[in-house]
């Protein structure tokens, strides 16, 4: 682009941002509409310069303070404004609002309302580009406040370590919400953080769009050609409050007045005229054209109706589930295939399944700590896979769970099929934002335009103490958009993992350490097979009482059933296999027959999955039950290192047997 042409292009982008925001602020002030808005006035040059420097195939991840990036990227203003207003004509049908604006067809892949959380996801897009060699660059845009949060540090370290084609654009507007840079950071030259992490870093004048353009263009070119990521800190000054309605009482009035007098938009307009790039008449005409576009877009948004409540359950999962988690009603028998079998523990079964899946599906990539050879994973689950499929597809990651899950999310959104490993389920807490606020919500917040089909594999430890032995599946069951799967046998692990690897929604696949090796060694058909999610399995038929359970507790329940059979009590053992979707039909069918129910699970009984199941059975079979429903869950305690306390805390066979005897008495 010729220099003059570029200057006009930059002006047009800044003008659109300024005019769009002015119209929004006017409407908010007049009470014409109401929504939360986080102003960008003063930062237009950063968005305009950055967006002008990127190509149409490049990708952008921005934040809740995203109006500048969105409008400068050229996203259609009508659907954008409609999204801000929560209307059906919005980019996401009004489901996301200003905090979650995306338009994947135009390269605006994601925006987040969680400070800094977009950076790990941006890495995933860049990772997909690197694996595919598609020449695309991803820009992660965020504010200076985000440089304080772990997400950004984790993401920058991973990007540098892997030379990902990504540019981190820090829009330093001087304020982290209401707190100035020098009050929250000792080193206020934020680009120094890039140097510390081993990537190019520079601090530039964010009030000059040409400077920003050139810096981002250079960083993008370097990243595109394999030169690794860069961190560009563009410094400007936020001329409005943190949000519309913020009176800026915390700002020195003189400082603000000086910043407003040096308004980058006005300065750039004067420069075009002074340098004879464009006459005032040309700019006036351009201004009028933009104003007409903005006015028309606001009219479009205001005329767009709110979404029908029929939309409520749409885009949570790929298949609509009106009651949240129940399985779709189709019920087919899911017998394991006939033929020869091999004896495998859970580790062997999962390794075999991943191996075969990677051989047939090139989009599968594995991410996790230590998973590449020679380590092959802490428990050898991925042993041999990096040797066979390469370290591009089997990536040993930094010890940074948010970066791992975020990279998986972005890669999934870019069309890969990532399998992220969280070494222990306790670490879900380390990256719960990426799982619950992002992976689970991609489909909904994008109004069904995007999704993140991925598998998170994680282990529940035994004998590993309070921070490596917890079952926290109820946390995840409570997150709409996630599926939660917990096999009880090696054969089920094969079939269920295959189902997760083909599922359109993010799946958490839970592995019991107790079953990893000899403790779980059992027959697995040599042939490959899939077990659909949402199909419970009657592991043992019986007529006197039903035990509903899952995971390693199934083994205990089976032993108890054997023991009680000797006393003439016939127990039916129902293995749920997946918690979301939840096969209540099989549970109800069983309890309708036996009229007695014990629900058992490792996670704490209080507010655990057993409560949900008991409520459903109580509702559906009220009057049919011969005894009150009993629950045998984990104690409401941490899991102690001491074996005696761990045994007492778990739903051990003695407790299950006692509960069954009680309901059968």
């Amino acid at each position: 682009m010729a220099a003059a042409e570029l200057m006009i292009d930059l002006y047009r982008r800044m003008r659109r941002v300024r005019s769009a925001e002015a119209r929004v602020l006017r409407g908010l002030a007049a009470g014409e509409f109401a929504f939360s808005h986080w102003p960008v006035e003063g930062q237009e040059a950063i968005s305009a310069g950055a967006m002008a420097a990127l190509g149409p195939d490049d990708r952008i991840i921005t934040t809740y303070r995203g109006l500048g990036d969105v409008v400068a990227r050229g996203i259609p203003l009508g659907p954008y404004f409609a999204e801000l207003l929560g209307r059906s004509g919005g980019l996401s049908k009004g489901k996301a609002g200003a905090m979650g604006v995306s338009d994947p067809e135009r390269g605006l892949m994601w925006a987040t309302g969680i400070v800094g959380a977009g950076a790990p996801i941006a890495n995933g897009f860049a990772l997909a580009s690197q694996i595919r060699g598609d020449g695309r660059v991803t820009l992660a845009s965020f504010g200076d406040g985000a440089t304080s949060i772990g997400f950004v540090h984790e993401a920058m370290n991973m990007a540098a370590a892997w030379s990902l084609p990504i540019v981190f654009l820090c829009q330093n507007n001087h304020w982290a919400e209401h707190t100035p840079v020098d009050a929250y950071a000792k080193n206020t030259r934020l680009s120094d953080r890039a140097v510390a992490l081993g990537m190019a870093g520079e601090t530039i004048d964010g009030k000059d769009p040409l400077v920003v353009h050139d810096a981002i263009a250079a960083a993008a070119a370097r990243a595109r050609s394999g030169g690794g990521p860069a961190f560009v800190e563009a410094v400007a000054y936020r001329l409005q409050g943190h949000y519309f309605g913020d009176g800026m009482a915390y700002v020195d009035p003189e400082e603000l007045a000086a910043a407003r007098a040096a308004d980058p938009f006005d300065a750039f307009r004067r420069r075009l005229v002074d340098d004879a790039i464009a006459g005032r008449d040309i700019l006036d005409a351009l201004d009028a054209e933009v104003q007409a576009e903005v006015d028309e877009a606001i009219e479009f948004a205001l005329a767009s109706p709110g979404p029908s409540t029929d939309e409520l359950y749409v885009d949570v999962y790929e298949s609509r589930r009106d009651d949240g988690s129940r399985a779709v009603p189709a019920r087919e028998v899911t017998a394991l295939p006939e033929g020869p079998v091999e004896e495998l523990g859970l580790v062997g079964a999962i390794n075999r399944t991943l191996d075969r899946a990677m051989a047939r599906d090139e989009s599968i990539v594995l991410l996790g700590e230590d998973i590449a050879d020679p380590a092959g994973g802490l428990f050898k689950v991925t042993d041999g896979l990096s040797t066979k499929y390469g370290t591009a597809r089997v990536r040993a990651t930094p010890i940074a769970e948010s970066a791992i899950v975020g990279a998986a999310i972005g890669a999934a959104m870019a069309g890969l099929r990532p399998v992220a490993e969280l070494m222990f389920m306790d670490f879900v807490g380390v990256c719960l934002d990426q799982i619950a606020n992002h992976a689970a919500k991609i489909r909904y917040m994008s109004g069904g335009r995007q999704h993140a089909p991925m598998v998170i594999r994680t282990a529940v430890g035994v004998s590993s103490g309070p921070q490596h032995s917890q079952a926290v599946e109820p946390w995840l069951m409570n997150v709409p958009g996630l599926k939660v799967v917990w096999p009880s046998t090696s054969a089920d692990a094969v079939g269920l993992l295959n189902a997760c690897l083909e599922d359109p929604d993010p799946c958490v696949f839970i592995e019991s350490m107790a079953l990893f090796f000899g403790g779980g060694r059992s027959a697995v058909p040599m042939a490959d097979f899939t077990i659909p999610l949402g199909r419970a399995d009657v592991k043992r038929p019986g007529s006197d009482a039903t035990v509903v359970t899952y995971g390693p507790t199934v083994m205990g329940a089976m032993a108890v059933a054997e023991e009680l059979a000797a006393e003439g009590i016939q127990i039916e053992v129902v293995d749920l296999r997946s918690l979301v979707p939840l096969d209540l039909d099989t549970v109800l069918e069983s309890v309708a027959k036996t009229r007695r129910l014990v629900v058992a699970h490792e996670s704490p009984q209080f507010c655990g999955p057993g409560a949900e199941i008991a409520a459903a059975v109580g509702r559906e079979l009220f009057g049919e039950l011969a005894a009150p429903i009993a629950r045998v869950g984990g104690a409401h305690t941490p899991i102690a290192r001491a074996a005696e306390l761990e045994y007492a805390a778990r739903p051990n066979p003695a407790r299950i047997a006692a509960a069954l005897r009680a309901v059968c008495a």
């Binding site: 523990g345 428990f379 050898k380 490596h468 090796f517 000899g518």
Partner: protein, 70 residues
């Protein structure tokens, strides 16, 4: 049989490095074991005369007695 890893419940005694009835010094390799994760040499915890209890090539549960040292 020791527990070389939280998930390990059993391991194979691959071979004794010290013959039945022979002497071993503390810290010398006594036998080699194999789990599904690793192969590992185990040193003699004390010096003395070794009496084999377990048989090389077989799998033993964690806690099983493999040999005595007198």
């Amino acid at each position: 049989m020791p527990k070389p890893g939280d998930a390990i419940t059993e391991a194979v005694l691959l071979e004794f490095y010290v013959a039945d009835g022979a002497n071993v010094a503390e810290g010398e390799p006594l036998y080699r074991l194999e789990t599904e994760k690793v192969e590992l040499d185990i040193p003699a915890p004390v010096g003395g005369t070794v009496t084999h209890v377990a048989e090389a090539g077989l799998e033993y549960s964690v806690g099983a007695l493999l040999a005595t040292i007198d």
